[in-house]
Amino acid sequence: MSQLPLAFSLEAFTDFAFWSSVLVLAGIYALVALGLQLNVGFTGIVNFGQAGFMAVGGYSMAILVLKAGFSFWLALPTAILITMAFGVLVGLPSLRLRADYFAIATLATAEVVRLFAQNARGLTEGNKGLYCDFSGGGSVCYDDAWRSVSDSIIGFLDNFWSDPDALAPLLLAVWATVLIATVGLGYVQRTPWGRVLRAVREDEDAARALGKNTLLYKLQSLAISAALGALAGFFLALFLATVTPRDYEPLVTFFAYGVLILGGLASYRGVAIGAILLWALLEGTRFVELPISEEKTAALRFFIVGLALILLMAFRPQGMFGKREEMVLGD
């Protein structure tokens, strides 16, 4: 019996399988938060609907493959396009609203999507969720095509490391996407297009007075963010091997904001680091064997995230890598 009130489980600490799943989740949240960064950090639109975009992306893919017979590889870009169209549809009436009204409108929209997924049982199987379709005699699961690719990647990696983790291909795919998205967004930010976005962020009237169609730019920002959300939802569907409404609750959006704030506003690079940090914090505390129940540990983790959000906002609102001068979302 250790004299410390806490006991560390060192062995578990170095379990690669565990950390690879943490990293996959972190990567998925990084994608979501990159979209938020574009919206909040660089366009000034406070989008609380990312969980909804994730749901549209994940469910579209699953429905296209399982119910419409799409190939997996076609379903992905189609799902992204569907989500972007949905984003534009949501944005058209709501982007002219004030920041807090827009936040609520997007939150309500995301909830409508989730509730729709929960109740439109014919299409989405409700709370049961979608994964495989057994109706045709055999079983078709939406990630069949991905599994075979994943297996070949593992076979390939086996040449370099013995017994590579089953999640390695997904890990690579997610983080490659995060990398491409980060670089792409960073580049686009330094262009004239990005300049208009920053102007819209700070003072939309000034931008309009200079001839910029600000609604168009906000729509584009939202559409790109929706695409990133769709990608995140897509990867989540692969990771969990199921799409259920519970995976797209508002909590997901709130956590993504946690990532955003930790990494810092107006910094794309910070997002990836914020994501890893948040999830390492959340999941790493599993190893600290506190003399309390599972339930209480979960509550404690929540509490820490909430407290971290409060303290960050009070004392370091720009997060780790954000720039204080670019924080313009004040009234």
Binding site: P192, W193, D205, G211, E325
Partner: protein, 262 residues
């Protein structure tokens, strides 16, 4: 920068503009014309509706009734950005220098015809985007030189003083190559030397490029000595419209200022 001929029509033709807020008519039938290449002052006591009229003219408020024609084209119900693109650019009473962006970015933002502002061009016309960026940057730096702000080009606009920000807003508006520039109290908060520089520049632009100016102002010295025409508003209407010395003697105008001398 006079483009197509106006055939003798005024550059700006405001006719019977009405703007209500609930039961109050902030602008109650305002009408006047502004000729190309002129410098016109819009004056009046507080609450006369001058800034509201500016807002309606430039699409920031939706006018209830009336007509605003820019170079013959009706613009009353166009969105603000479309009106700015057609050459009627305005500045704001409380300056809107974009503090979280560097000064040079403020300037480059305003330049018209930037292919780089369309997302599709970033991908398909990267070369043209880069070329225009270079051009715009040069023009921006030249203009900043004129206003003595070139050495602050890379600083965040938030670090400028109040007077400098006003100049930046003017310089930025000029970057947009407007036909008609609407200035809302350009002299407020600027020291006289800077102010004179501003006015000299306005005169030069009018001479060399036939740029037209309409400005709201309270500083009577500026109004009397630097404008070709003065329009006086009170209670939402135009009550006088003519040359400065005429207007100053108009009894209706003196009345509107409650017996104070103009």
């Amino acid at each position: 920068m006079a483009t197509e001929s106006l055939n003798g029509k005024a550059l700006l033709d405001v006719d019977g503009v009405v703007k209500r807020f609930g039961g109050i008519r902030a602008v109650d039938g305002a009408s006047f014309e502004v000729g190309e290449g002129s410098i016109t002052a819009l004056i009046g006591p507080n609450g006369a509706g001058k800034t509201t009229l500016f807002n309606v003219m430039t699409g920031f408020y939706r006018g209830n009734r009336g007509s605003v024609r820019l170079a013959g084209e009706e613009v009353l119900h166009l969105p603000a950005f479309a009106i700015a693109r057609r050459g009627m650019v305005r500045t704001f009473q409380i300056t809107k220098a974009l503090a979280a962006m560097p000064v040079i970015d403020n300037m480059m933002l305003a330049a018209p015809d930037q292919p780089g502002e369309r997302f599709r061009n970033l991908v398909f016309r990267a070369g043209a985007v880069r070329r225009r960026e270079r051009e715009v940057r040069e023009q921006a730096l030249e203009l900043l030189e004129v206003f003595n702000l070139a050495d602050r080009a890379d600083h965040y606009a938030g670090t400028l003083s109040g007077g400098q920000r006003k100049l930046l807003e003017l310089a930025r508006a000029l970057m947009a190559r407007p036909r008609l520039l609407l200035l809302d109290e350009p002299m407020a908060g600027i020291n006289p030397t800077l102010g004179r520089r501003l006015l000299d520049h306005m005169q030069r632009l009018r001479r060399e490029e036939a740029m037209t100016f309409l400005f709201i102002e309270h500083d009577m010295e500026v109004v009397m000595n630097h404008s070709d025409r003065v329009i006086v508003m009170a209670e939402g209407r135009v009550i006088a419209d003519g040359e400065p010395h005429q207007v100053r003697r108009d009894p209706a105008v003196i009345d509107a200022y409650l017996g104070g001398s103009v």
